[in-house]
């Protein structure tokens, strides 16, 4: 056991002696968080839209006023800005040309007789034409225009409405979680994966090439002590990077986990750490098993790149799993990162407690056990 601690100490001392390596395992995932998190999922502001108004009256002008004043913060934007930049266009044909030329993202068409029909409390239709070659903008703009319309319909309902009309009462169960927060857990897992690849696995392959592992074997160190030491130091390094990215995400990226804000919840933080620990042990063991089986460091590095990509993108870290094609969903089912991300989200944004994450924990524990066995077997065989 003491031998394992010595092997572990060696790796940690080496890690601390290579600040560049240390920092690079943090910078990568953190940049992903900042860049991807800020570039995607932000509320679309000042989207240019054209309004073709053929009916003039209190209702239509109220509706247009609503559109002009709609603020992004009503949809989870970080700061309040106008959602739309409205242009009045004389006729539908001109508006369509503008849409075609990319000058506007959508056309709102208020047909002749709109105000009269509303006054008479009969059915009205506002046509919205969306530029769906930009799917993300279209997906955001459509509902926002409807939102302005809903404000209008509440106005309409002050007049006696027909009894058959149905209304929905939409409630949000939690505060709005920003996209950057949504994807943050994935970047903690990325930090662990980066360490597993560059500080854990490659170092082992290099040690093997340099004869360090054979150097271990002429000392009284037992093989299991060597594996244990390598795994222990890997987990330490991975947790170091993941916790650093976690802290930076709060300090710089504006991530606000419920487990920390407004009052830190020790139970949830401990569960978060357990998730990170299980993930780290599982991924380190996986990459260790792979590394000792690799014949050269170059081959190992080249193959790690796609492995990391597949695990990251099928984990649901950056987009909901339900939005993925079936084959990706199938991969995600056996992807340990899926369960890590899921557990982290539950704990961070819902403070959901142990009973909510027990399923994720079970998968991670089984996966980790399997990978540990694999790592030990591979290590014994290769050395």
């Amino acid at each position: 056991m003491k031998g394992a601690l010595a092997v572990c100490l060696r790796d940690i001392q080496k890690f601390l002696g290579q600040p560049v390596l240390m920092v690079s395992t943090i910078v990568g995932p953190f940049l992903t968080l900042i860049l991807l998190g800020s570039a995607f999922g932000g509320a679309i502001t000042h989207a240019p839209i054209a309004i073709v108004q053929e009916s003039f009256g209190p209702y239509s002008s109220n509706f247009i006023e609503n559109l002009r004043n709609l603020q992004t913060c009503q949809f989870g934007g970080i700061d309040c800005q106008n959602s739309f930049q409205v242009t009045d266009v004389a006729d539908l044909e001109t508006a369509q040309q503008m849409l075609h030329a990319g000058l506007v993202k959508a056309i709102v068409y208020i047909p002749l007789g709109f105000d009269d029909a509303l006054a008479a409390n009969s059915k009205v239709i506002i046509t919205i034409i969306l530029d769906n070659t930009d799917p993300l903008s279209a997906a955001a703009i459509g509902p926002e225009i409807s939102q302005a319309g809903q404000q209008l319909s509440s106005l309409v309902q002050t007049t006696p409405a027909d009894s058959s009309s149905m209304t929905f009462d939409l409630e949000y169960a939690y505060r709005n979680v920003l996209y950057i927060e949504f994807m943050a857990p994935g970047t903690f897992v990325q930090a662990i994966m980066f360490v597993s690849i560059i500080a854990g696995g490659v170092q082992l392959v290099v040690d093997k090439e340099r004869g360090i592992i054979e150097g271990y074997l002429v000392t009284p160190l037992k093989k299991y002590e060597i594996v244990l030491g390598v795994l222990l130091s890997g987990v330490f390094k991975a947790l170091f990077s993941a916790v650093t990215v976690f802290t930076l995400s709060i300090l710089i990226a504006g991530v606000r986990p419920m487990s920390v804000f407004p009052i830190p919840n020790v139970g949830e933080i401990v569960l978060t750490m357990i998730t990170l620990f299980l993930t780290a042990l599982g991924l380190i063991a996986m990459m260790t098993a792979y590394a000792v089986r690799s014949t050269s460091a170059d081959l190992y590095r080249v193959t790690c790149f796609p492995i990391n990509l597949i695990l990251y993108y099928t984990s649901g870290a950056i987009y909901p799993l339900n939005g993925m094609p079936v084959w990706m969903q199938k991969v995600s089912v056996i992807n340990p990162e899926t369960y890590a991300v899921s557990a982290l989200r539950l704990l961070m944004y819902k403070s959901a407690g142990i009973q909510a994450v027990i399923g994720d924990f079970t998968f991670l524990a089984v996966f980790t056990g399997l990978m540990l066995t694999l790592a030990i077997v591979a290590f014994r065989r290769a050395i």
Binding site: L5, A6, Q18, E214, V218, P220
Partner: protein, 308 residues
Amino acid sequence: MQTFDITKKFGDFTAVDHLNLKIKHEVFGLLGPNGAGKTTLQRMLVTVMIPTEGTATVAGADIVREADKVRERIGVVTQASTLDIELTAMQNMNLYGMYYGIPRAERQEKIKELLKVVGLADRANIRVAGYSGGMKRRLEIVRALVSSPQILFLDEPTTGLDPQARAAVLEYVERIHKDHGITLVITTHYLDEAENLCDRLAIVDHGKIVAEGSPTELKRKISGGDIIEADFLSLPSTALVALQKAEFVLNVKKRDGGLTILVKNGAEAVPKIVSLVDANGGKLRTIALRELTLDDVFLEVTGRSLRE
């Protein structure tokens, strides 16, 4: 240390072939051309490779059944450096001591003492990356001594070092043997090194020992004579034949521009060779008498020069 018919086969290839060797408390050199089996032999002796057949006792323990005991009692310095250059000399030594489970206080004291021995005490807390090649080697050698081994295996300890660094390393190696009373097993390419350093030598070729003994014994065993190097301006074939047939000549070998002649008695042979060549119409450029070196021995028993 003793081997008993130790053998290692890789498929059809026999790297070490029923080799028997006994090493006492001494400095022992293993010589041999590349691929002769000396590295395989050493890897078996330090327990990282299991023999196909036979066994050996190292420091009183069996290398197969009691590998753990062997590991506790030996030190190994491999040819390729296994130092962690990101760490300091102190850290490198300290970790090594931990592998052997040496208690902290004892470890610290031992390390200080050893670093002093090889003149690295004042650089103990500098990262090894900043060391010269010779310093690294010295550190690596004393690192293997942290565990106070009974036998120290050194694989090509001076390869890649400049002459000055080489001399320093050899000086420390010699001191280690004298002061610490450790048996040294050295594999080397450098014959002068082997000749000066080793009490006894074994020349290994094709997985077997082809010659064994002290450097002086080895040389005597081969010849009992002297070497004459002769260069010629002209050498008719009649002169060459006459030399080969002369009763005082033991062996004649051709080399670039001349002959290497092994004779019974050098002082008597020189004037005889001069007159013999003269009588057969040849012309000498130079003729010199020199002592037998280990390279001659090596050439004789393996048919190859180690320098090639």
